[in-house]
Symmetry: C2
Subunit: 207 residues, 2 copies
DNA sequence: ATATATATACCCCATTATGGGGTAAATCAT
DNA sequence: ATGATTTACCCCATAATGGGGTATATATAT
């Protein structure tokens, strides 16, 4: 592994300095920039063009989640690894959606951080195991759904923007049958519209 | 880490036996069952109640992907780790959606497989780094979208099943403006319906 | 065996949403 | 300053929706 040019954006001085120290000491990677917030970093980013940015989420000024798209606009090919104490589904998914390539918790040992830097450079997606688990769970359905298999199938087609007619044709059933299923779905989810049914079903991972 | 009761479903004798041998030799986990296909395994699963199942995808009879929900129905709390030579987005996401807790490529060293068994028992989500990268990319949008920001926003609301009227209200614009955006979205995606627009936009990760 | 859930299908009705067409002005960004 | 974006209005016919009632066959579970 060649020397990787790394930049750190982290407001806590102790954490920032110890990461920098350990990375420089235990690997061949170079810490080419250290910043206490995104606004400071922004001025230098284009000139610096780091390979990897270690980014904290809890920052003064623009937070890490919102900083990701801004960084990606300036440096589309720079990999961003989130370093955070928080492991909530919401934050993790937003970070990944916004363009982060990895997500580590701050209690990760320095070896894990160093190998994560190498991993992203090689096209990997380094994550703490609890983070990986949350990411996987984000794909999985809730098996305590009140909806039947057929109802789930219909609501999924519905959520794909299809009309009753089209769903009926594709499922080889009558449009009236689709309608009856829909009526039962509305009753079970206690809603009275498509949008509400989709929203409830998605948030509860029924579909 | 206590001894974990592991079961292997893998049709290739050499791979199956070498996994079993290495796991028994290098860890305290117990291989309590080995099967060449899902049908064979199914007979014993409830009685065996393994903690973890190492599951191949390319199986004779029912394939691994389809076997996952069947296993989960019999053993809802057993963790399933996929072992596959294939790393296509489609297979990986289907496996995770169906309930797999981890996904390793077959070239993984035995240490990685052993630690994966421990990781799932502790609530983690073990993945090969290339798999993790694909999973992360599944969350990320295509930034070469022909759609404008506003159009993406509107199509996302559209994909949430909302009507033009509701979108207009929530976005503080006129329904006619929503309509114009929609018309431009249809033109850019070369479609003539909601369902097609959503389908194209989702498959190309524009939304 | 009997109750409950599921999947199928038909009828009525009024209201709402959709897609296609044309046009245009203000603002934003390269 | 040229093209893209965002906003908004007009016309029109057709399709889709949601609410109501009813029914029958099959599965599943207690």
């Amino acid at each position: 592994m060649n020397s990787v040019r790394v930049c750190i954006i982290e407001d806590d001085e102790l954490i920032r300095d110890s990461y920098a120290f350990l990375i420089e000491k235990k690997s061949t990677h170079k810490i080419i920039g250290m910043y206490v917030d995104y606004e400071e970093a922004e001025k230098d980013l284009y000139e610096l063009h780091p390979d990897v940015i270690l980014l904290d989420i809890e920052l003064p000024g623009k937070n890490g989640i919102d900083a990701i798209p801004s960084i990606k606009k300036i440096l589309p090919d720079t990999f961003i690894i989130i370093l955070s104490v928080f492991e909530t589904e919401d934050l993790i998914l937003k970070a990944l959606r916004n363009g982060a390539s990895g997500y580590l918790t701050k209690n990760s040992p320095s070896e894990k951080i160093i190998s994560a830097i190498e991993e992203v450079m090689e096209g990997g997606g380094p994550m703490s195991s609890s983070v990986a688990s949350l990411v996987i769970k984000a794909f999985q359905k809730n098996n305590n759904s009140p909806l039947s298999k057929r109802e789930i199938e219909i609501l999924e087609n519905f959520a794909a923007g299809k009309s009753r007619k089209r769903i009926a044709e594709e499922m080889f059933i009558d449009t009236e049958t689709v309608k009856t299923h829909l009526r039962n779905i509305y009753f079970k989810l206690d809603v009275h519209s498509k949008a509400d049914a989709i929203q409830i079903a998605r948030s509860k991972k029924f579909i």
